[in-house]
Symmetry: C2
Subunit: 440 residues, 2 copies
C-alpha cells in the first residue's frame, strides 16, 4: 500500500499547521474588527450548482463524487455515470457563497459582510505551489454598491499584511476602463481577447502583446490607438490623466475613472498602483479589480473585485458585491522565504515536568494543573524514561522550562527549574512555582 | 435548479458558525495548555487507505471520488468503475491519523500529542442529529503506554466541558475487563456478541440483553454466571470489588482492574463512573474505554479509548495510542438546548457609524480606523441610506453602540453615541471617542 496522500494534496505537520493557523487567525481577527461575520458551506455542492460556472476548463477540473448503491448499479448498466453524479467538491468559495446568499436571502441582513476560510478542490495538474486541495480565505460584502466597500477592503488588505509583516503593493484597475479602451479602439466585441493580451504585458512585453493582438485580428489602426495604453507609466495621477485623454470621451470609461478617483480619494493607503492591464477573470468582475503583490514573488498573493451579478445565476438579480480572496498557500511561502513567522509559533510548550517515578509524577500532575489554571501550557512526561530521552523530547518540542522534581526535591518541598534557552537552573520552593510563572 | 446543499449537509450561518467556532476555540485552547499540537490531513485519502478499515457497513458509507478523463472513459468501457476509483473522502480522523503517523514517523517526536479538528464524510441515511458531513475534534497521544495519558485525557475532557459550562459524567471501562468476563463465562470466542449485547443494557434492559445472548447461542450456565455483571450497581469501589470477585482470577481481567484502579488513583476527577457495559467499537480499543454523557441528552458527546495497534494496519506495529473525540454537533445541540452559549457571541460589532453623506463618512472612516487600532470592532455604514434602515441594520447586527456624526456634529467637532442596550445617547467631543472606548 502506498503510504501517501492523494496526488496534489498534503498533510500539515504541527509546525506547518501552527504557521497556517497564524495566517488564518491574523486575517480573522482583522475581518472581525471590520464587522465581517464567519460562514461555512459544505465541501460538497449539488453538481448542478457548480457545473457551467467556471468555463469548460473549470468544469473539467471539478472533482465529482461517485454515485452509490442502486444508483451506481443502474448508471453502470446504462453507461450514464457522469449524468448520475449528484455531488461535487467545491471549486472555489464564490459560487457556493452566491448559492448561499440566494438560498438564505431572508435570513441574512444586507449589506451582508462575511468571511469564509475553507478548502477547495481542483483536479489540476499539481506543480510547485499548485495543489489539488488548498484553502481559500475570502472576505466579501454583498448588497451594497457603495465604493466605501472597496475602500474598506483595501484597508483590510493593508491591515492583514501589515500584521503579518509582509510589504505589499495593491494593483487597482476597473473593468469599466477596460470597456472604455475596447470601445475607443472599436473592439467592443473583442474585450476578452484584448484584456487577455494586456494581462500578459508583464510576462511577454510590449512586442508580445502586439503580436498576440494581431493574431487575434486587431487591425493596425486599433493597435496604434492602443499604443499609449501599452506604454503606460508614471504615478497614479499621471496615469489617470493619460487614461482620461484616451478613453474619457466614452461614458463607461469615464465612469471607471471616476470610481478609481473616488477610491483613491477616500483611501488612506499609500501603496495603491493603477494598473490597467490587470484583468483577473474579467467575465466576472464589473467594477474595481484588485491584485496584491509583494516584491520578489512572481504571483499575486491576494486579489478580487466588484461583481454586479453573481447571484443572478441563481435567480436573484441586481445584488452587487465586492470581495477579495487571500491566497493562504502563497502567503505562507512568502513568509517562510522571508523568515518572518514569529518565533513563538515554534514554542509549543512552556513547561515540561520530567518523570522520576510514580510518587514524583503524582505531585507534578498537581503542579501542572495549577500552572494551566494561570494559562501556562505544560506537560508531565508520561513515562519514567531515561532522563536523557526526556530531555531530548523537551528539546524537540522547544520547551521553554524543564521542571525537575526528584526524590530530594520532593522531600525538601522544592522544584528545580531549568531554563532551556540559557541552560541555567534554579531551585525554588514548590510554593513559589505559581508566583514564579505569574511574574513572567 | 434546486437551491440547496446536498442531502445530509449544511450551511452554517454567522450565528451558528460563531457558536461552533466557540466550541472549537475553547477545546483548542485547552488542548494547547496540555501540550497538544495541531495537524491536518487532506479531505481525500487514497481509497485503499480507507477501505477495509471500518467493516463492511463502513466501507459502503465511504464517499468515493469519480475518476476523471481517460481513466473514466476506460472504466466506463470496461465496466470497472469502482476499481478505477483512486480517492475517497475521509470517514473519520483516526485512520488518516494512523496513516499520517506511519508516513511521517521520522519527522515526529514521540510521545506525539496531536489535536485535529476537521470534517469527515459518511453516506449515511441523514436523520435528526446525523449528517453526511460533520466535524470531528480528536485529541490523541501515540507512542506511550503510560496510564498518565488516560488521566490527562480525563482532565482535558473535564476542562473543556467545564469551560463550556456543560456538566458531564465520564463513563470508564476497559477492554481487558470485557475479555475477563468473556473468559470467565467460557465465551472467549464470542466477546463481540457479548459486548454488543451488554452495550444495549441501557436501551433494552436486563431482559432484552438476556434474550439477545440466548439468540446468539450463549447457554444458560454462561448467562447465570453473567447475572452479577448485568445487575451491576453501587459506587466505583463497590463495583470494582464485585468485578474482582467475578473475573479477578483471570490474568487479563485483573490487568483491566489494575488499570482502572490506577486511573482512579491518579485522577482528580470526581465524575468518573465505571460502566462495564461500555464497548464503543470494541475491535479497536485494547485498554481504557471512555464515554462522556450529560444528563437529559441520550447520546454520548465525547468518547474514546486506548488502542494498541492502530498503526499496525499501515505496517508500524507496537505503537500504543490513546485518544478521545469530541462530538461537536452534539455538544452544540446540548449547549443550544440549555441556552448556555455566551451572549457576547451574538454581538458581532461594537460600533456602527451611521452614514450621513460624503463629508461625514470620510470623517467616520478615520475615526473607525482609530477605534480598530485599540481593538474595537466597527463599521461605517457604506450607503447614505435612510437612517431608519441604517438603525435597523444596527439592530439586526446587535451592535452595541451607534455613532452619529451629522453636519452639526461635524461643525462642532463632536459625535453622538447611542447606547443600543438602553437607548440613551450622549454627545462627546470627537477627541474623546478613543478615551471613551479605551475606558470600557
Amino acid at each position: 500500500m502506498k503510504l501517501q496522500t492523494p496526488k496534489g494534496t498534503r498533510d500539515f505537520l504541527p509546525e506547518q499547521a501552527a504557521k497556517r493557523n497564524y495566517i488564518f487567525d491574523t486575517a480573522k481577527a482583522i475581518f472581525r474588527l471590520y464587522g465581517y461575520l464567519p460562514i461555512e458551506t459544505p465541501a460538497m455542492e449539488n453538481v448542478e450548482t457548480l457545473m457551467g460556472k467556471y468555463g469548460e476548463e473549470g468544469d473539467r477540473l471539478i472533482f465529482k463524487v461517485l454515485p452509490r448503491g442502486e444508483k451506481l448499479t443502474n448508471a453502470i448498466q446504462n453507461q450514464h455515470i457522469e449524468k448520475s453524479v449528484e455531488e461535487a467538491l467545491k471549486y472555489d468559495l464564490t459560487v457556493p457563497f452566491a448559492r448561499f446568499v440566494v438560498q438564505h436571502q431572508n435570513e441574512l441582513h444586507f449589506p451582508f459582510k462575511r468571511y469564509q476560510i475553507q478548502p477547495v478542490w481542483r483536479a489540476d495538474r499539481p506543480q510547485k505551489g499548485r495543489y489539488r486541495e488548498f484553502y481559500q480565505c475570502d472576505v466579501d460584502v454583498v448588497g451594497s454598491d457603495s465604493l466605501l466597500n472597496e475602500v474598506e477592503l483595501i484597508d483590510i488588505i493593508n491591515d492583514v499584511f501589515q500584521k503579518l509583516g509582509v510589504e505589499v503593493l495593491i494593483k487597482l484597475n476597473n473593468r469599466k476602463i477596460l470597456s472604455g479602451i475596447a470601445e475607443t479602439i472599436g473592439a467592443h466585441d473583442k474585450i476578452i481577447d484584448l484584456t487577455v493580451a494586456l494581462d500578459k504585458l508583464d510576462k511577454i512585453g510590449k512586442e508580445g502583446v502586439i503580436k498576440e493582438l494581431k493574431e487575434k485580428g486587431f487591425d493596425d489602426e486599433s493597435i496604434t490607438k492602443l499604443q499609449p495604453v501599452i506604454d503606460f507609466s508614471g504615478n497614479n495621477e499621471q496615469k489617470l490623466e493619460k487614461i482620461a485623454s484616451i478613453i474619457g470621451h466614452t461614458a463607461i470609461g469615464q465612469k471607471g475613472l471616476d470610481e478609481i478617483q473616488t477610491i483613491l480619494a477616500y483611501s488612506k493607503a499609500k501603496n495603491i498602483v493603477i494598473d490597467i492591464t490587470l484583468a483577473r477573470g474579467l467575465n466576472y468582475y464589473t467594477g474595481a479589480i484588485f491584485e496584491v503583490q509583494t516584491k520578489d514573488f512572481p504571483s499575486s498573493i491576494c486579489g478580487g473585485g466588484r461583481y454586479d451579478d453573481l447571484t443572478g445565476i441563481f435567480g436573484l438579480p441586481n445584488v452587487s458585491g465586492v470581495g477579495v480572496s487571500f491566497g493562504a498557500d502563497r502567503i505562507y511561502d512568502v513568509m517562510q522565504e522571508a523568515n518572518i513567522f514569529p518565533d513563538t509559533l515554534n514554542q509549543s510548550l512552556e513547561v515540561l515536568f520530567l518523570n522520576f517515578g510514580e510518587n514524583e509524577s503524582k505531585n507534578c500532575l498537581e503542579l501542572a494543573t495549577s500552572l494551566r489554571q494561570i494559562g501556562i501550557s505544560c506537560e508531565v512526561y508520561p513515562d519514567t524514561a531515561k532522563i536523557k530521552k526526556q530531555l531530548k523530547y523537551a528539546d524537540t518540542k522547544k520547551v521553554r522550562w524543564v521542571a525537575l522534581l526528584g526524590e530530594t526535591e520532593l522531600a525538601n518541598h522544592t522544584i528545580v527549574l531549568k531554563n532551556m534557552l540559557d541552560g541555567t537552573q534554579q531551585e525554588i520552593p514548590m510554593t513559589q512555582l505559581i508566583p514564579f510563572f505569574n511574574k513572567k
